[in-house]
């Protein structure tokens, strides 16, 4: 079915005012928060309810129309498409419940921004498990789809580890609820029940398994106080940096721990005393915070690091995540996150060195690296400020080389915005892993209409 035939059917579902195929909107929806080339889909639809999403998916499935779901669009490559429907969830932005008196969980529609949720929880003295520092307007449904990482993950783990259940519309249009909410008489207060963890199928699925229309998750009491500390290390002391990170985890110190370089500080025009930084937030009772800060200072001495005090950490922690803005000081520019390489702690020096070498080779010297860590596991987000459009080609070439270099490092798992989806999403998988994943995908999305790049060859008989 072509788009001209599809459009009135979509309008019937969501209302004409919530469907557009005008070239202006298609251009706007062709881009996201990345340097990736624009991709223009055929139509954009704004559903207002789970029922509407279900009807859209039934129609798309029936007509073999690809569907790409868009939340805040802060994760590159997942929210644009060169064909089919863009399903923008921003109208589905209601907080449905905050259970602060009993089970300490909350539920929101999938398109609700993390900011909106965090603000509501803050008023009630609670926090979400994570803080969205990687992109300004992540929506909670998209966060499940991309696992969810950010500030506080050293304390609470990935955001998705705190999810107690989701409502998801499958590509076929079926509405499924996971966790105990999948039982006839239970609210979504707990993820695990007497059957398999169905939530896990959708966590990290990057829009390939269904449309997450509702998310329920654990909420946590807001800590009494928060402080910062940064430890500094020189180029010749990666061993000390890694040892310190390990000791900090063993002493159960941080809520957030990032391994950064001084790139972001340099972009701001700051003098940072050392090229490598361990930046932390420490939270809790003020006495406990003070005790932990002292422990960090002791670890710095033991590992040949420097105590750089609270200010650099506060600046990088609060200001660093928006490095996109920093580059504007030099006129037109952009930033790219080569995002989300899950890696072990010991892989970090290799990732760092190759990242630096390749970018410098292409003259892309305004760069830096963020890495959030959880109990030894890291997730690094290099950032590169480059000139649009002058340096776009160099940026994309460097990106490919970095992906190759990082892919070859042991215990470095490729993440979201890779340059060749087939190569990077298929090649690293062990055959049985792919076989199972492919079978699940084929079961829920036999025509592979949802983010078809994520699981290569799904929906094909060959």
């Amino acid at each position: 079915m072509n788009i001209k035939e599809l459009k009135p059917l979509l309008e019937e579902i969501v209302g004409a005012e919530n469907v557009t195929d005008d070239p202006i909107s298609l251009i706007v929806y062709s881009r996201d928060y990345s340097s990736l080339p624009a991709q223009k889909a055929n139509i954009v639809v704004l559903p207002g309810s789970t029922q509407e999403v279900s009807e859209i998916m039934r129609l798309a499935n029936r007509t073999d129309t690809p569907v790409t779901v868009r939340g805040g669009a802060t994760t590159a490559a997942l929210c644009t498409s060169k064909e089919g429907i863009i399903l923008d969830l921003n109208r589905m932005n209601k907080i449905i419940r905050v259970d602060e008196d009993a089970c300490l969980y909350m539920t929101a529609q999938g398109g609700t921004s993390i900011y909106q949720i965090t603000k509501e929880l803050d008023k009630r003295g609670f926090i979400l498990a994570g803080r969205p520092m990687f992109g300004p307007v992540a929506s909670i449904g998209a966060w499940v789809n991309t696992v969810g990482i950010g500030g506080n993950c050293a304390r609470y783990g990935y955001f998705s580890e705190n999810v107690t259940g989701i409502e998801v519309v499958l590509p076929s249009g079926e509405i499924v609820r996971t966790g105990v909410n999948g039982l006839q008489n239970c609210d979504p207060y707990c993820r695990y029940t007497h059957t398999s963890d169905l939530t896990g199928i959708f966590v990290g699925s990057r829009g390939s398994m269904g449309v997450v229309t509702e998310v329920s998750c654990r909420i946590h009491p807001k800590p009494e106080s928060v402080n910062f500390i940064t430890l500094g290390y020189n180029h010749d002391n990666f061993d000390g940096l890694l040892k310190a990170t390990n000791l900090i985890f063993r002493a159960d110190i941080p809520d957030t721990i990032d391994i950064n370089d001084d790139g972001v500080g340099k972009m701001m025009g700051l003098e940072i005393p050392t090229p490598h930084l361990i930046t932390m937030t420490v939270a809790g009772h003020p006495d406990e915070v003070a005790r932990k800060i002292k422990l960090c200072q002791k670890i710095a001495v033991e590992t040949g690091g420097l105590d750089l005090g609270p200010d650099i950490g506060a600046l990088i922690y609060y200001g660093g995540a928006l490095t996109a803005y920093i580059y504007k000081k030099d006129g037109y520019g952009h930033l790219v996150f080569i995002d989300s390489y899950w890696h072990s702690l010991e892989a970090y020096p290799h990732l760092y060195k190759s990242f630096k070498e390749i970018l410098n080779k292409y003259g892309l010297t305004e760069n830096g690296i963020f890495g959030w860590f959880m109990k030894g596991v890291g997730c690094s987000f290099p950032v590169v400020a480059y000139k649009e459009p002058d340096q776009r080609e160099a940026m994309n070439q460097a990106w490919k080389e970095i992906c190759d270099a990082w892919f070859s490092v042991r215990n470095s798992a490729p993440g979201m915005s890779v340059t060749s989806t087939t190569e990077y999403n298929l090649d690293p998988l062990k055959p049985t892993h792919y076989w199972l994943l492919r079978n699940i995908k084929d079961a829920v999305d036999p025509k592979n209409i949802m983010n078809s790049k994520v699981i290569p060859y799904a929906g094909r008989t060959k």
């Binding site: 669009a73 909106q116 803005y325």
Partner: protein
């Protein structure tokens, strides 16, 4: 088509990373905001609230501009309508620049600014006008009225002074000039009357231009891309003000204030006079004890910061000081205030759906904090909120700050 104005400002266009902060709030809700120490509002962009597509947002406008610069988009009626949908309230720019305020405060370095999307849109509109594609018909009508009769309502200039209270004589020359503006002269005459009475009671000598005052031209001409027509207004008004001998010009309308203070010098250079807003003058008169606010007003009052006064003029303490000096008033803040104020939706011309949606949303914000009276300091805000309260059937009173002060002075 040549985009000469847009080309000049393309660093801003490409500076937009489509992060979405302009419409969805900041990256980190816990990041200390050095300007605004409370929660930021969820609703930021009037056109986005009316039309949920990303197209109608700061990010959308910049992406469209990039589309035409790169040859991916043709100029169509739909595109022109979209570009004229923006109210130019500037909330997107403030939200976008939030991190720079923080960095500046923390390290004392001014390393950048938010994307100047309103400037991008003004440039875009100027190019559309140059190419004969803009403005929209509605704007054209207002612009034609200004060209013909020097005011936006197509009313005779001789009626410009009809608002003057009976028996009050106001000279045409003086050190302090009250620039009345089209709205207060022809529509919200109670604003002008209240202000004139306050000044008279305070013993402050002031003058007006009378029928020699022309529309300031900011909202309807400059912002619509009608640059040449705007410059005609500027030159006339500046000449007339200079001829009046004024060293200080005061406006009750936030849009007139912004246009005279910020935009006029870009055309004529040094004005030779200073420009202030009525709320600034009222605060000064209060300090100088030239006015006393003695009559109790037992109302819960909130203040709607006009976009151009707070975001552009950085005037937000003075009106609060004045309001809070009135006995009996319980002053409350709405979510989204001062530089993070939420637009009334009425700018540069009435956009029926956008204006009504933004206006009613804001009245609901006032109701949410228990306000029985919403005070503002801009004729356009008042116009929008009066329509919105009617639509909602709300009992919320809408007043200009001059009316409230006049009431507290027993005038």
């Amino acid at each position: 088509m040549a985009y000469t104005n847009l080309e000049k400002i393309k660093s801003e266009v490409y500076g937009c990373s489509i992060c979405g902060q302009c419409v969805q709030g900041p990256v980190d809700p816990f990041r200390p905001n050095v300007v605004f120490h409370d929660y930021l509002p969820n609703k930021t962009c009037p056109m986005r609230e009316k039309d949920r597509f990303l197209t109608y947002s700061g990010a959308g406008m910049n992406t469209i501009a990039r589309g035409v610069l790169e040859g991916d988009l043709e100029i169509t009626d739909e595109l022109v309508e979209a570009i004229y949908e923006c109210t130019l309230c500037g909330h997107c720019e403030t939200s976008c620049g939030e991190v720079f305020n923080l960095i500046k405060t923390m390290v004392g370095k001014d390393i950048g600014h938010g994307v100047k999307t309103p400037d991008v849109i003004r440039a875009f509109r100027a190019d559309l006008v140059k190419a004969g594609a803009g403005p929209t018909d509605k704007v054209k009508k207002v612009a034609a009225a200004i060209e013909k009769g020097h005011n936006r309502f197509a009313r005779p200039q001789t009626e410009r002074t009809a608002w003057i209270p009976e028996g009050m004589e106001i000279p045409r020359k003086g050190k302090l000039l009250f620039y009345v503006g089209c709205m207060a002269a022809y529509r919200n005459s109670e604003n002008a009357q209240s202000f004139a009475k306050i000044l008279q009671k305070a013993g402050v000598e002031f003058a007006i231009l009378g029928d020699d005052e022309w529309c300031c031209g900011g909202p309807q001409l400059l912002n619509a891309g009608l640059i040449e027509q705007f410059e005609t207004q500027v030159k006339h008004n500046v000449e007339a003000i200079r001829a009046s001998g004024a060293t200080e010009v005061v406006a009750t309308c936030a849009d007139c204030y912004r246009t005279l203070k910020i935009d006029y010098p870009k055309v004529v250079g040094d004005l030779g006079f200073t420009v202030l807003h009525s709320s600034e003058l009222l605060a000064r008169l209060l300090d100088e004890k030239k006015i006393t606010l003695t009559k109790e007003i037992n109302e819960t009052v909130t203040f709607q910061d006009p976009c151009q006064l707070s975001r552009v003029g950085k005037v937000f303490d003075e009106p609060r000081k004045v309001i809070e000096s009135i006995p009996g008033i319980n002053f409350v803040e709405m979510e989204g205030n001062k530089e993070y104020t939420v637009c009334c939706g009425h700018y540069p011309v009435e956009l029926p759906e956008t204006t009504l949606k933004a206006g009613t949303d804001r009245i609901k914000d006032a109701q949410a904090v228990g306000a029985t009276t919403m005070v503002t300091a801009c004729s356009f805000c008042k116009w929008s909120f009066n329509n919105s309260t009617k639509k909602l059937g709300a009992e919320t009173k809408v007043k200009d700050i001059t009316e409230l002060v006049a009431e507290a002075m027993g005038l």
